[in-house]
């Protein structure tokens, strides 16, 4: 039993291929038949290669999609939509709908989005849309509407987006409409397009300037530093040796200085001790002598420490100076070593920047030429 199910499905699928072409021929001449109910309307819509869909998972609003019916759809067929409830989106893009068809659209008062792209409608048809109080989006791309038709749209209370690409609508018509309805987004908007072209040109030039500045530096480095790369490397290495040695010397001097300081502190303690002892027994000559000796030793040690401190400070200065020299030499060495790569990068960046700036320039010129 189950096997039969599979083969039937398969045979039907393969047989269908042969049927598709003859069905397509039938569809071209399919007349409008008033549907008994919504189900039948949907069946007829599907027979025309249209579709009825939920607009979203969260509501029961419907979309009627005739985008792929092409010549099969004519004005009368739009009446099928009247049999359906809560249709908010209608799309008749690329079909044969004319102004007469819009008479039927006028009755679809729940419509929010209407796509009339690439149909044969004209300014006359727009009048029929005056009743569509819920309409928020209207797409008239590639139709025959002109400035004259736009007046009919002024009173649509909820209209927010109007698309008039590839129509005969002029900037004057758009300006007039926007004056009456400043909240309406009309696309393309000539003002916005002018702004866009100018901003792109300005930015492209800015980026090109940056790239050219980097190229100047890169070329300079390549000319002046790259040939000496080997020497600069040797210089850097020599300087590094020197600064390393001076650093070691400074470290050693600092250590000596710290040792001397510790020694001086010890001797100070001993001298203070001896002085106290001598003071407590003023008659003891031995103690007094010892105190004097201790003080003398401390003062010698202190003097030695101060000398070493001075020497350490000098050593630090030399070491720091040498470090700075080494870092400079390292920087030069790196620039010399990378200069070829950096130059290549800078050239590519400038070349690309020139392409973009030239393109922006050409667009700006074309746009200016198209202004009335």
């Amino acid at each position: 039993m189950k096997r039969l199910g599979w083969t039937t499905l398969l045979f039907a699928a393969i047989a269908l291929c042969g049927v598709v072409e003859s069905v397509a021929n039938e569809v071209k001449s399919r007349p409008y038949r008033a549907p008994a109910n919504a189900d039948q309307a949907i069946k007829e819509i599907e027979a025309l290669q249209g579709a009825v869909r939920r607009v979203s998972r969260k509501s029961d609003a419907l979309e009627v999609d005739f985008r792929f019916t092409f010549e099969a759809l004519n004005d009368a067929h739009l009446q099928y939509v009247h049999a359906l409830e809560n249709v908010t989106v209608l799309n008749v893009r690329c079909s044969n709908i004319t102004d007469a068809g819009l008479v039927h659209v006028a009755k679809m008062t729940t419509l929010e989005r209407l796509h009339l792209t690439k149909t044969s409608m004209t300014d006359k048809g727009l009048k029929h849309l005056a009743n569509l109080k819920s309409l928020t989006y209207l797409n008239l791309t590639s139709t025959l509407v002109t400035d004259a038709g736009l007046g009919a749209l002024r009173d649509l209370p909820n209209l927010k987006k109007l698309y008039i690409y590839k129509t005969k609508v002029t900037p004057a018509g758009i300006a007039a409409l926007k004056k009456a309805r400043p909240d309406l987004e009309v696309w393309p908007d000539p003002q916005r397009e002018k702004q866009r072209v100018a901003a792109v040109l300005e930015t492209a030039r800015f980026a090109l300037k940056n790239a050219e500045a980097k190229l100047v530096v890169a070329e300079k480095d390549f000319k002046e530093l790259h040939p000496h790369a080997k020497r600069l490397k040797e210089e850097y290495e020599a300087k590094k040796k020197t600064s390393d040695a001076l650093r070691k010397q400074y470290d050693a001097a600092r250590k000596r200085s710290e040792d001397a300081k510790r020694k001086a502190n010890d001797l100070k303690r001993r001298a203070d001790d001896a002085e106290r002892k001598a003071k407590s027994k003023p008659d003891d000559a031995g103690l007094r002598k010892r105190s004097q000796d201790a003080r003398q030793q401390f003062e010698d040690a202190q003097r030695q420490f101060e000398q070493l401190e001075k020497a350490t400070a000098q050593s630090k200065q030399r070491s720091d100076a040498a470090n700075a020299e080494t870092r400079k030499a390292q920087d030069m060495e790196r620039r010399a070593r990378d200069s070829k790569k950096v130059l290549e990068e800078a050239r590519i960046s400038v070349e690309a920047g020139r392409i973009q700036a030239a393109d922006a320039q050409a667009t700006a010129e074309r746009s200016a030429a198209n202004q009335p």
């Binding site: 045979f11 291929c17 607009v55 792209t117 930015t203 590519i348």
Partner: protein, 423 residues
Amino acid sequence: MPKHDHWLSRRDYVRLSAAGVLTGASVPWFESLANAAVKRPRGKSCILLWMDGGPSQQHTFDPKPTGEFKPIKTSVPGVHIAEKFPKLAQCAEHMAIMRSMTTEINNHYDAKYYLHTGFKRVTGFEHPAVGCIASQQVGLPGDDMPSFVTIDAGNDKGNGGRFYRSVPGYLGPRHAPLAVQNPARGLENLNSTGGDTDARLKLLAASEQRFAKQYPVPAVNAKQAAFDRAVKLMRSPRAKAFDLEDEPTELRQQYGEHRFGQSCLLARRLIESGVSFVEVFHRGWDDHEGAAKRIAARAPWMDAAMATLILDLKNRGLLDDTLVVWMGEFGRSPGNGSGHFCRAWSAMWAGGGINTGITVGRTNEGGKNPGGTIEERPITAPDYMATLLTALGIDTHQEFMGPGMRPMPMVDKSAKVVKEVLA
């Protein structure tokens, strides 16, 4: 094949698989509708621009003042992108830039898998890719056109390792993508060679029928169903969407002669003709020798193609219904962009009815390593996937029937939708 009592009958399995929803909190859509003839919502369409190899964020959408590319003003006050993208800068009011992507995986293939599926790669089975999920959830059922198409936009230096191909996994082979190699040449083999196609198909049908009778297993049915869909596409007038010669020369030039630009143009045509998910991939963003030189060279065609795509969709009134996504599998090291950097990187979305003219998340501006850490709203790969699917109109709380009759969630349970992006 032995039958167990608790296994679904084959008919039930096929019916429920077709619905794609077998377990989970939400009821299959067709049971909740009064009128079963009404089709499910088609959600938003998506064009995914995949920069394979990991594009450097500091050289594109998250530039730093001390960086190699300077930040420039855009059409949205306060939002800056890298100076090499002047056209995209003027599209900023249609964009949402996510700068706080943080995705744990720094090696190419595993990262590509993670960002395409929302799950970490495991052995044993494959998760479905985002395009396949979209095909199954919001693709037009039984349509002439495939629901998911990939387009190869070419290679650059900077090979990003093994390429990840989108697989439908347990969603079934009908949600595998149709691959277009070179957009300028259209879809290969779309027109049959030799004459008398009908007679040849009849002959084939007879032998296929005998074979299917003898071997009635799902794989045979799947193969023959795929063949039938190919024939349907060949005979459909909508297949001319694959032919770029139809487009005016001026528009083709605006998109740019580069293969990426022509791929973006083809993507727009496919969306118009009913395809739900188009993935345009460009390989070679793995710039280990430093990103500045490479991205400076790519900027002219990337800037032109993407800005033209966004504005072309907007001109035709399609941008609200089409989500454009730009991303790679991770970003690159702050500074010269020489290494992989999954800790803080950027993705850019446009259109699709999301909140636009915004940035989401932030990386540090100052300090020793600008761009090295995230300061605000980290976005993990599961968060990202949940947000993307939700933006397309898909209920991410559903589950699929996975291998071994095991329920598989659509997104990882740790996923938190990025509310700032969704309107």
